[in-house]
C-alpha cells in the first residue's frame, strides 16, 4: 500500500504552549484512519498542521511523497486535500447551492463541477430539499452533511474530517458515519477522521491513533482498539 499522507515528528506550538510533540502519523491510499483522544489532546492541531492553517515548528508532512509543509491552504486544496473543519463552519448567509459551489472554488471545468454537484446531491438528498435555503438556517446535522458535501466538491483524494459528530443529533450521527464509509468506498477517497466519539470513529475506520497531551499514545487496528481498556483510560486522562 502506498502512503497518501505521512507525518513525521511534527512539533507545533500555540504562542509558547506546545500543542504537538513529535507526532508521526500515516494514512494509506484508500484507507480510513481515525484520530481519537480527549478534548485538547491535539487532534485538531494535527489537521490544522496538515492544511497549512498552522505552521509547524519542526518535522515534515508529505502528501503523495511530496513535502507539503509550508504550502498555503489554497495550494493544498488544488492538490486534492479537503478538510471539513470543526464546528462545521458553513457560510451562513449563502444558500446551500452557493456553499457547495464554494467547495469547487479551485476548479474551473464547469461540466465536471456539475457532475460532482450531482454526485453530492445524490449522496445527501436532504441538501437537494434545502438547495436554495440559507445555510445558517439549517439544523446541525444538515449543516454537517453540507460541509462534507462541500469538501467533496473539491474532488479530493484525501478528506480530513474534524469532529463531524459534534453537535449533531444522535440519530443523524449514524447517517453521517454511513456516508463517510460510502464516500471512502465509492469515491476512492482516503479519510483522516478526528473524533471524540471514539465508538463511532473506531467502528468506521480501519486503523486508529489515540492522542494524549500532544503525542501519539496508542496506535493500531480499530477493531482491536474498540475493546482495549487502555483507550478508555486515556480518555479519562490517565497516563500509560
Amino acid at each position: 500500500m502506498t502512503k497518501i499522507l505521512d507525518l513525521q515528528n511534527i512539533e507545533l506550538y500555540y504562542d509558547h504552549v506546545y500543542a504537538l510533540r513529535g507526532v508521526s502519523i500515516e494514512v494509506n491510499e484508500g484507507e480510513t484512519v481515525a484520530l481519537i483522544g480527549a478534548n485538547g489532546a491535539g487532534k485538531s492541531s494535527i489537521l490544522r498542521a496538515i492544511t497549512g492553517l498552522r505552521r509547524i515548528k519542526s518535522g515534515q508532512i508529505e502528501y503523495k511523497g511530496e513535502k507539503i509543509n509550508g504550502l498555503p491552504p489554497e495550494r493544498l486544496v488544488e492538490m486534492g486535500i479537503a478538510m471539513v473543519p470543526e464546528g462545521r463552519r458553513v457560510f451562513p448567509f449563502m444558500t446551500v447551492r452557493d456553499n457547495l459551489m464554494m467547495g469547487a472554488f479551485t476548479r474551473h471545468n464547469k461540466a465536471e463541477i456539475t457532475q460532482t454537484l450531482e454526485m453530492v446531491l445524490a449522496r445527501f438528498p436532504r441538501l437537494k430539499e434545502r438547495y436554495h435555503q440559507a445555510a445558517g438556517t439549517m439544523s446541525g446535522g444538515e449543516q454537517q452533511m453540507m460541509v462534507i458535501g462541500r469538501a467533496l466538491m473539491a474532488k479530493p483524494k484525501l478528506l480530513l474530517l474534524d469532529e463531524p459528530s459534534l453537535g449533531v443529533a444522535p440519530k443523524l450521527v449514524q447517517d453521517i458515519a454511513r456516508s463517510i464509509v460510502a464516500i471512502n468506498r465509492d469515491e476512492k477517497v482516503s479519510v483522516l477522521l478526528v473524533e471524540q466519539n471514539s465508538r463511532m470513529a473506531l467502528s468506521i475506520s480501519e486503523r486508529a491513533y489515540v492522542l494524549a497531551t500532544g503525542s501519539v499514545a496508542l496506535a493500531g487496528k480499530s477493531k482491536e482498539m474498540r475493546d482495549d481498556a487502555r483507550v478508555q483510560q486515556l480518555y479519562l486522562g490517565g497516563e500509560l
Binding site: A38, G40, S45, Y235, G237
Partner: protein
C-alpha cells in the same frame, strides 16, 4: 456543550485558557508598587516643577499647561484603557468628560458649590450615567460597542446644545470662578488659586489626581476583580462558566472608567475656567483610544505613555507649520508598522532578540492567517 467527559487536570494546550484563568485569579500581588509610586511622586512634584521653575517666567505657564493637559487626558485615557481591559473598545469617553465638565460647571455656577466638591461630584454623576448607559450596551462586543460609544459623544453635545435652560446651550458657561482656598482649623489645606498661579496649582492638582488614578488602576488590575476582568477579555464564555456575574463584572470597570472621565472633565472645566459644547468632541474620544493603542493595551501605563507621546509629538510638530497633520499622520503610520502592539509592548530583551535575529538569519515568515481573529 455535550462534549466527551474530560479530565480537568490534564495539562493540555487547549485548556490553557482555563488554567491561565485560575492562575490569574490566584496569582500573588506584585512586589514593587510603592517604590514606583514614590519615584513618580518625587519626579512629578519636585523634579519637574523644579525644572519648570528654572525656565523663563513667560514659558512656565505653557509648560505647566502642557503637563496638566497630559495629566487630565491620561486620566480619561486610563478609563478607556480599563474598558479595553474588559475587552471593550470605548470611543465614547469624550461624552463622559463633557458631562463631567458640565456637571462641575453647573454645580459651581448655579448652586454655588466649591470647586473641590464638584470634582468627585462630577465623577459620581458620570458613574450614574455609566450605569444607565452601560447596563444595556455592555452586552455588545467588538466594533459594535465601539461604534455605539462613538455616537455617545455626539449625543452628549446635542443634549448640551438642546437644553439651554440647564446648560446655557451654545454659549457655554463662561464665568466659572477659580477654586478658593480650603482651610481647616486655621490651616490652609488647599491654597487659593489666582490668575497668576493657577497654571502651577492646576498642574499639582491634576498630577495628584493622575497619580491617584494610576494607583487605583494598579490596585484594581491586581485585585481579584482585575484578574477576572482579564479573563473576560480573553474568553467571556469561559469566565461565565466559572459562575462569575458577568453583567456586574463588566459594569464595575465601566463605571470606574466613567468616573475617571467625569473627573477629567471636571478638571478640564477648572483648568479652562469655562465650558462650551466643544470642550470635548468626538475627536477627543478617538484620541483617547489612539493614546491607549499607542501606549499599548498590555500595560496599565500604556494610556499615560501614549498620551505623552502623541500629545508631545503633536506639540513638537507645530514646527512643521502647514504640514503638521501630515507629519503627524506619517509618524503614526510608521510607529504602527514598527510597534503594532504599542510602545509598552517593547521589552529590552525582545528588542535585543530582534536585533540579533536581523543580524543573524532571517526569521521565518509568519502564518498567513491571524489566529486570534474570529471569523
Amino acid at each position: 456543550m455535550e462534549r466527551f467527559p474530560s479530565n480537568p487536570n490534564l495539562p493540555s494546550p487547549q485548556r490553557g485558557n482555563l488554567s491561565n484563568l485560575s492562575r490569574f485569579v490566584q496569582e500573588s500581588r506584585p512586589t514593587w508598587p510603592w517604590l514606583g509610586t514614590v519615584f513618580a511622586l518625587i519626579l512629578l512634584f519636585f523634579v519637574i516643577p523644579d525644572f519648570i521653575a528654572s525656565m523663563r517666567p513667560e514659558k512656565q505657564g505653557l509648560i505647566y499647561y502642557q503637563f496638566t493637559q497630559i495629566a487630565l487626558l491620561s486620566i480619561a485615557a486610563a478609563g478607556v484603557w480599563l474598558t479595553f481591559y474588559i475587552g471593550r473598545i470605548n470611543i465614547g469617553q469624550g461624552a463622559l468628560c463633557l458631562v463631567g465638565a458640565y456637571v462641575s460647571a453647573i454645580v459651581q455656577v448655579k448652586l454655588d458649590v466649591s470647586y473641590w466638591l464638584t470634582i468627585p461630584l462630577a465623577g459620581i454623576f458620570c458613574v450614574l450615567v455609566g450605569i444607565v448607559i452601560g447596563w444595556p450596551i455592555l452586552r455588545l462586543r467588538g466594533v459594535y460597542f465601539a461604534m455605539i460609544t462613538l455616537i455617545l459623544t455626539e449625543v452628549a453635545k446635542l443634549v448640551v446644545l438642546n437644553f439651554p435652560i440647564v446648560t446655557n446651550g451654545a454659549r457655554g458657561i463662561t464665568n466659572i470662578p477659580l477654586p478658593e482656598a480650603v482651610t481647616l482649623f486655621g490651616f490652609t489645606i488647599l491654597p487659593e488659586f489666582t490668575a497668576d498661579n493657577n497654571r502651577m496649582y492646576f498642574y499639582f492638582l491634576s498630577m495628584f489626581v493622575m497619580v491617584l488614578t494610576f494607583i487605583a488602576l494598579f490596585r484594581l488590575v491586581h485585585s481579584r476583580i482585575g484578574r477576572l476582568c482579564k479573563s473576560l477579555q480573553q474568553n467571556e464564555e469561559l469566565a461565565s462558566s466559572l459562575g462569575v456575574n458577568l453583567v456586574l463584572l463588566r459594569l464595575i470597570p465601566f463605571c470606574i472608567s466613567c468616573f475617571m472621565g467625569g473627573v477629567a472633565g471636571a478638571l478640564a472645566a477648572g483648568v479652562q475656567h469655562n465650558v462650551g459644547p466643544s470642550i470635548f468632541t468626538v475627536q477627543d474620544s478617538v484620541n483617547y483610544m489612539l493614546y491607549c493603542f499607542m501606549g499599548g493595551l498590555g500595560n496599565l501605563f500604556g494610556p499615560l505613555v501614549g498620551t505623552v507621546i502623541l500629545r508631545m509629538g503633536w506639540n513638537y510638530l507645530t514646527a512643521a507649520g502647514d504640514y503638521q497633520l501630515l507629519f503627524y499622520a506619517i509618524a503614526l503610520i510608521i510607529l504602527m508598522l514598527i510597534i503594532p502592539n504599542g510602545v509598552m509592548s517593547l521589552s529590552p530583551v525582545r528588542i535585543y532578540q530582534r536585533v540579533v535575529g536581523w543580524l543573524g538569519n532571517r526569521r521565518p515568515t509568519l502564518n498567513t492567517v491571524p489566529h486570534n481573529r474570529k471569523s
